[in-house]
């Protein structure tokens, strides 16, 4: 089962338009809802007050409608674990989960994610205990320079947590490769990422028994 990437328009397309499509999945929790008669919501051009649930915490931020979720996370909220690499939806380094689905956060406007539940690399560790996939990345040496690593881990997490039925089989080699097919690595960690994913799957299967 492959992960489901949310397709959104490139922010360049939207830049300056001040209008964004009203997405059912991303109803803004706060802010001035200036709905027009056509039902299309007006944004901007000034800053919008947005609110997210990030790694279990409510976070508010005020950004212009053209700011991507990635830049809001990194430059405004200060969560820099999510990496900015291609800023064009090609490399997966900025992968986060929005409402349980992996998204290239450089391809989603922050306004479109408002009201959403967001999970980032910083949220995988729980009470000082690493997620099994994080442990496996360490033991399998799946991070060299480490710049692709947060995105890789988020894609693997999506596969391990939601891509497979809880009692079902461990992921096949093909499923793992497909899960990180959108994540580029320049140091060449891929075989280690595959091994880490297999190892984490085994650990998660054991602990779910």
């Amino acid at each position: 089962m492959s992960k489901d990437r949310i397709e959104v328009s490139r922010r360049d397309v939207l830049r300056g338009a001040g209008v964004a499509a009203f997405l059912g999945a991303a109803v803004p929790a706060l802010g001035d809802e200036r709905k027009t008669e056509t039902g299309i919501r007006q944004f901007g051009p000034g800053p919008e007050k947005l609110q997210f649930q990030i790694n279990g915490k409510r976070v508010s931020v005020e950004v212009e409608p053209r700011v991507t979720l990635l830049d809001a996370l990194r430059d405004r909220i200060g969560m820099t674990g999510t990496k900015r690499v291609c800023d064009g939806g090609a490399c997966g380094a900025c992968t986060v989960m929005v409402n349980g689905k992996t998204v290239n956060s450089c391809m989603m406007l922050a306004v479109d994610a408002s009201g959403s539940t967001i999970r980032t690399i910083e949220g995988l560790e729980q009470g000082g205990k690493l997620h099994p996939i994080q442990e496996a990345f360490i033991t399998q040496d799946a991070a060299q320079c480490g710049f692709c690593t947060p995105g890789m881990i988020m894609s693997c997490t999506a596969l391990l947590e939601t891509g497979l039925p809880e009692t079902g089989p461990e992921p096949t080699e093909e499923q793992i490769r497909e899960a990180v097919a959108g994540n580029l690595c320049r140091c060449g960690t891929y075989p280690h990422v595959f091994a880490a994913c297999r190892e984490a799957a085994t650990v998660m299967k054991e602990s779910s028994r």
Partner: protein
Amino acid sequence: MSDKEIQLGFPGNVRKIENPYPADAPPAWGADAKLDVVGKDHTRLDARAKVTGAAKYSYDRRFPGMLYSRMLRSPHAAARIKSIDLNGIDKLPGVIHHEPYEGKRIRYAGESVVAIAAETEEILDDALARIKVDYEVLPHAVTIDDAMIPTAPSVAKGDNERPGRPRGNAEKVAAAHKDADVVLEREYRTQVQTHSCLETHGCVCVFKDGKLTAYASTQGTFAFRGSLARALKMNQSDVTVITDHMGGGFGSKFGADAWDVYAARVAVKTGRPCRSMLDRRAEHMIAGNRPDSIQKCRFSAKKDGTLMGAEVLSWGTAGTSARGGGVYNPAIYGFKATLQDSRDVMTNAGRARAFRAPRHPQGVFALEGMIDELAEAIGMDPLEFRIKNDPHVVRQAQYPIGAKEIGWARRDKLNDPKATVRRGIGVAASRWPHTGRPGSAVRCRIGKDGSVVVANGAQDIGTGTRTVFAILAAEALGLKPEQITVQLGNTNDPPGPGSGGSTTTPSITPPTRKAVEMAKRELLGAVADVLGGDPKKMDLEDGKLVGASKPLTFQQACGLMQGDVIETLGRGDRDLFKGGARFASEVAGVQFAEVEVDTETGGVRVVKVVGVHDCGRVVNTMTTRSQINGGIIQGLSYALFENRVLDRGTGDMLNADFVNYKIAGSIDMPEIVSIPFSVAQGITPSGVSSLGEPATVPTAGAVANAVAHAIGVRIRSLPITPDKVLAALGKIA
């Protein structure tokens, strides 16, 4: 404390030499050394920081009041900036600083035209969009073929094609060819490859109380500091460079670049921190690349399999630089005579920079192709032909290991001649000099509380340098690597090497061991002062003090020291890098590749790659395998996918992104078998040598040879894309 003799070599081939190192050198590690920590699997010290997102890269640095900077870049490959209309951006709220480069002569697309610093990235977007530039557009030549046309516009003063410096002996080569049974003349070509570091080039600069701190994405903290200080006319002692983590360099990130210097200038002028990180497009266009090559080869051999002469006349473009376009060909094998002439061709394109084994992958691709072509011409198995002509004692031992692992014996029976999807196996070799260098120093501090800190100012480019320091210290102190605190990537600490030429681990190992051994001697001396006994009979093993009158833990032993801390400085002195005791003059490697080629689609899939690589003594087997895997994957990517495409008409780069500039991804991964082949080289007391670069050298050659074996036609140009395969098979024009 050193032994009198060192055993060099590897199992099955050892010899002893007299220990050439000074009496105060760390104990020599020969082939028979028994080590507890070195040479085993160790996870990285910084792995937890990397998997939790806590690791701070330069791109992640944020400071109150930080400005963002970027440059407007020329869309033209050759132009003069006539005038710049700032169009009121200086009055735009949030634009804090700007610097127009009026009158500048543009020599490649992507050169800076105006630099701006602003409060946010969005304000930068607005400001850059408003600027109007009047260019006098000049004729350009962006490809090597265009630039060599006699009437092509001059990129810089003089001819675009620069004369080479021929090496070798023309008469001897001619004589060798004459004595040969087969003489082949072929032309090979390689493409321009961009480094494609995931973290783009750049830094964040902070200026406070007359001191400048640059958080830089660099593989040479000290080189970066020196060049930044020079550019700002500051004392280097007033500049600190910090690189805790960096997202890839591969040879492209040493000194401070124009955009770094701009950020520093803004920080100094405004007193506010300033960030300057390239965007992906600029990264592809202006931050370095591997030059392309055209290699005209004339090689000869006798029917009995004796290699005779090799001549290579080559051209390569390093963009607007007149240096760096050479190739490593002919090389490796025992030719009777060689002649080489490499010519640089200047083009209106971004400059080349050192790229993981400069000159080697492109040279070895052509060299290994020629070797296979000769073998075929004389009817000899290509592996047998290599073994007959390879003078290197280590590679001679590596060939059978790799051949067995890839299944070379089944090579002749691999294909059903009627099959649509065909398989092939190929082999290629690499060599690299021992590159450890003197001049580094390492500080070791053992605290009364048992804490151990090892400090050096060099960076960890991603190879696991941080962990190497800890392993070496743990070995000497009888501790575990995770008990050592490693402080690196800060130029206020003792000097360390730039991570170039595969020098880092071989250069830092001798001074690290020296510092820790000195600290250990001081500690044991302090213990003897209190407990009595001979400190020379005491040792530290498994977290304990042994050979003393009382059984103590390491921590208890530390508690006996007089002062609060024992501090030593180990220098990587010249006499630790004598080099006279080498087992072999260089490190050797061989790679084997198996591929599958679909003759209907032209698609090539690499099925398996085996890499057998010597890097002297292996410090960490886990990260060593990662390095070999990484080298192979980058080599595979170079062989099949990567290619910088410049528009001959406009001079702009057409694929300056990660959609159209393709690097290998998860789907493209073959099975990889990485075999570290440890050889006691005797080059330093520790015998640690180079690996990062040699591991990527042979891959493209091995893959190309496998493709030729699979389809029976040779593709002499990289990357090996489906269109080239189909053309070679005569299926498309």
